[in-house]
């Protein structure tokens, strides 16, 4: 058991970035599942703004994934493909009851991703280890993604408040 929050090796860093990729794939897949899962009457009520929000979230996640994959490439490791994660989501997916449920799930997605990157950045900053990937580039990438996750939380919250 290792106490203390710091990333101390390329191996550990790679694993955490791989988890980041899976979290992004989860957001992407769940957003797609939400849109598809709603019954027709709910879907009619599923206004454009919410649909657009989910579509944007999926696009943004795909883009985050690419940025993480570029770092993982430099660490000479692989990632789990989207189709594989999509199939796992498919196997366990229980659709939210209504549009509010979809928004709550989306909020949880964005908040979780933000927390993950925030903890990861803290753990990298607490470490004095040299990594095979340039430290500045690594942190700049993660700062950028964390900022976009923060904006994502704000966007979902705004839509939820408007609907309340």
């Amino acid at each position: 058991m290792s106490l203390g929050q710091r990333v101390s090796s390329d191996h550990q860093l790679t694993r955490l970035l791989q988890i980041g990729v899976v979290l992004e794939e989860l957001v992407e897949s769940r957003a797609a599942h939400h849109i598809e899962s709603l019954p027709p009457d709910e879907r009619a009520e599923f206004d454009e703004e919410v649909e657009e929000l989910l579509a944007e979230a999926a696009t943004e996640s795909a883009e985050h994934r690419e940025r993480l994959e570029a770092l993982i490439d430099d660490l000479e490791a692989e990632t789990v493909g989207y189709e594989e994660i999509n199939a796992l989501v498919d196997a366990q997916y229980g659709p939210p009851e209504d549009t509010d449920g979809v928004l709550y799930d989306q909020l949880a997605n964005e908040e979780t991703a933000y927390k993950f990157y925030d903890d990861l950045i803290e753990a990298i900053e607490a470490s004095e280890s040299e990594f095979a990937v340039d430290r500045e580039r690594l942190l700049e990438t993660l700062y950028g993604i964390r900022e976009e996750e923060k904006e994502g939380v704000e966007e979902v919250t705004e839509v939820m408040e408007q609907r309340a």
Partner: protein, 144 residues
């Protein structure tokens, strides 16, 4: 998972291994820290009513401590299962130990949506083997 939760989880497992209060030595071994660090933390957990400590016997979880230890062990199981079955990591025990301090409960909850975890979790956790006794391992280690 924060340090307090890692201690509570270790006390829970040590109590199961020793079938009684968790001794400082066992906890120091499990957590790979000094006995002095263990004693210091046990004192803090006792102040929070999460642990009862009896001199020369060891530490036992209170009901509240037990609940938190259960949650912490579930989080740990999620991390192990995710590493073993999704990333197909062979050394998933070692890696789970290395990663647990950096993986927050909310992150583990999301990962839990794509893993197959038994309803009786964490009762099926084998303290000696340091993994769930129902965990099915898949061949290969692609993500390594």
């Amino acid at each position: 998972m924060n340090t307090a939760d890692q201690y509570l989880k270790a006390i829970y497992l040590a109590q199961r291994i020793e079938d009684g209060p968790a001794s400082t030595g066992t906890l120091a071994d499990l957590l790979e820290v000094s006995p002095a660090s263990v004693n210091e933390m046990i004192g803090k957990l006792e102040e929070q009513d999460l642990v009862d400590h009896e001199k020369y016997k060891g530490a036992s979880l209170t009901d509240e401590g037990l609940e938190r230890a259960h949650n912490a062990l579930q989080t740990y199981c999620i991390i192990e299962r995710f590493l073993a079955n999704v990333l197909e990591v062979e050394e998933f025990r070692d890696e789970a130990r290395a990663l647990e301090s950096v993986i927050d409960d909310t992150v583990a909850e999301r990962l839990d949506t794509i893993i197959d975890r038994p309803a009786q979790c964490p009762d099926c956790f084998d303290a000696e083997q340091d993994c769930c006794e129902l965990l099915e391992l898949e061949a290969g280690g692609r993500a390594d």
